[in-house]
C-alpha cells in the first residue's frame, strides 16, 4: 500500500464530482457533486497526515469538515428558498441575467 493509490482514488473522485457539477441540472445533485470534491480533498489530507507522521493533516481535515457542515446548511437553505419562489429545482430556469432576455 503506497500513498499513490490513495492519490489516484482521490483524483478520480474529484473528477467525478467535477463532471457531475458541470453536466447536471438538478440542484441537489450539483450540491452533492460539490461535497464529493471536498471529500476527496479530505482524503488527500488524511493520507498526508499518515505520510508525514503527525496529526496536522487530520486536524485540517476536521476543520474542513466543519466547513462542510456549514456549507451544507447554507446550500440547502438556499435550495429551499429558491424552490419556494420558483417551484423548480432546474438550474436552467434561473437565467434572468442572460443576454437575450435583456438586450435582444
Amino acid at each position: 500500500m503506497s500513498p499513490n493509490l490513495f492519490f489516484l482514488l482521490a483524483s478520480v473522485i474529484f473528477s467525478i464530482g467535477l463532471v457531475g457539477l458541470v453536466s447536471r441540472r438538478n440542484l441537489f445533485i450539483i450540491y452533492m457533486s460539490i461535497e464529493l470534491m471536498l471529500s476527496s480533498v479530505n482524503l488527500i489530507l488524511a493520507t498526508f497526515s499518515r505520510v508525514l507522521g503527525n496529526a496536522d493533516g487530520s486536524v485540517i481535515a476536521l476543520l474542513i469538515m466543519a466547513v462542510i457542515a456549514a456549507e451544507a446548511a447554507l446550500f440547502l437553505a438556499m435550495i429551499v428558498h429558491l424552490y419556494r419562489s420558483r417551484k423548480t429545482i432546474d438550474s436552467d430556469q434561473y437565467n434572468a441575467l442572460s443576454q437575450e432576455k435583456n438586450y435582444a
Binding site: F14, F28, V59, T88
Partner: protein, 175 residues
C-alpha cells in the same frame, strides 16, 4: 517502508469500489433520492478509508458530521421538496454533457495525479490519531483556525435561518 498486507489491500479495494460506485450513482441518477443514497455510500466508505489511514478520530468525525448531519439534512430537504417525477428537470442530454465533461476533465485528473505522484513518499508507522492527539493539537497549534471555524459555523447558522425563513411578503403570489 511498511509492509503492506494483503488484508489491507483487500479492504482498500473494496472501499475504493464502493466509493467509485457511489459517486457514479450520485452523478448519473435521474431521481434525486437515489443520488442521495449513493452519496451516503460514498461518505461511509470514506469513513472507512480514514480508519484505514490510522485516523480514528477523523473516521468518527466523518460519520458523525458528514453522514449524520450532511447526508441526513440533504435527504430531509429532498424529501421535503418532494418533487413528483414529472416535475423533475427533464435532462434529456445529460449523457452527452457528461461525455463532453469527462473528456475535458481527463487532463485535469491526470495532472493532479501525476503531480502528486512525483514525490517519493511512503507511509510511516504512526500511532492511531486518537481524539487525545487531535484535541491536543486543536488547542495548541491550531487554536486560531478552530476559533474562526466556530464563528463561521455561527454565521452559517444565522444565514441559514435568514435565507430559509418564510417571509409573509413572499407569500403574496410572486413567481
Amino acid at each position: 517502508m511498511l509492509e503492506t498486507s494483503i488484508l489491507e489491500l483487500l479492504v482498500f479495494s473494496v472501499l475504493a469500489l464502493f466509493m467509485i460506485g457511489g459517486s457514479i450513482a450520485v452523478i448519473t441518477n435521474k431521481q434525486t433520492i437515489f443520488s442521495a443514497f449513493g452519496f451516503l455510500l460514498v461518505m461511509i466508505a470514506l469513513a472507512g478509508m480514514f480508519a484505514l489511514l490510522q485516523s480514528q478520530f477523523l473516521a468518527l468525525a466523518q460519520i458523525m458530521i458528514s453522514v449524520g448531519a450532511v447526508v441526513v439534512l440533504s435527504m430531509l430537504t429532498i424529501l421535503t421538496v418532494n418533487l413528483k417525477e414529472e416535475n423533475l428537470p427533464k435532462e434529456k442530454n445529460r449523457y452527452k454533457w457528461m461525455i463532453v465533461a469527462t473528456l475535458l476533465v481527463l487532463p485535469i485528473t491526470y495532472l493532479l495525479y501525476r503531480s502528486m505522484d512525483e514525490a517519493y513518499i511512503y507511509f510511516v508507522d504512526i500511532d492511531k490519531v486518537s481524539s487525545q492527539v487531535v484535541g491536543k493539537l486543536l488547542f495548541s497549534d491550531w487554536v486560531l483556525p478552530f476559533e474562526i471555524v466556530s464563528i463561521l459555523l455561527l454565521t452559517a447558522m444565522l444565514g441559514a435561518i435568514v435565507i430559509a425563513r418564510k417571509d409573509d411578503t413572499e407569500q403574496k403570489g410572486r413567481t
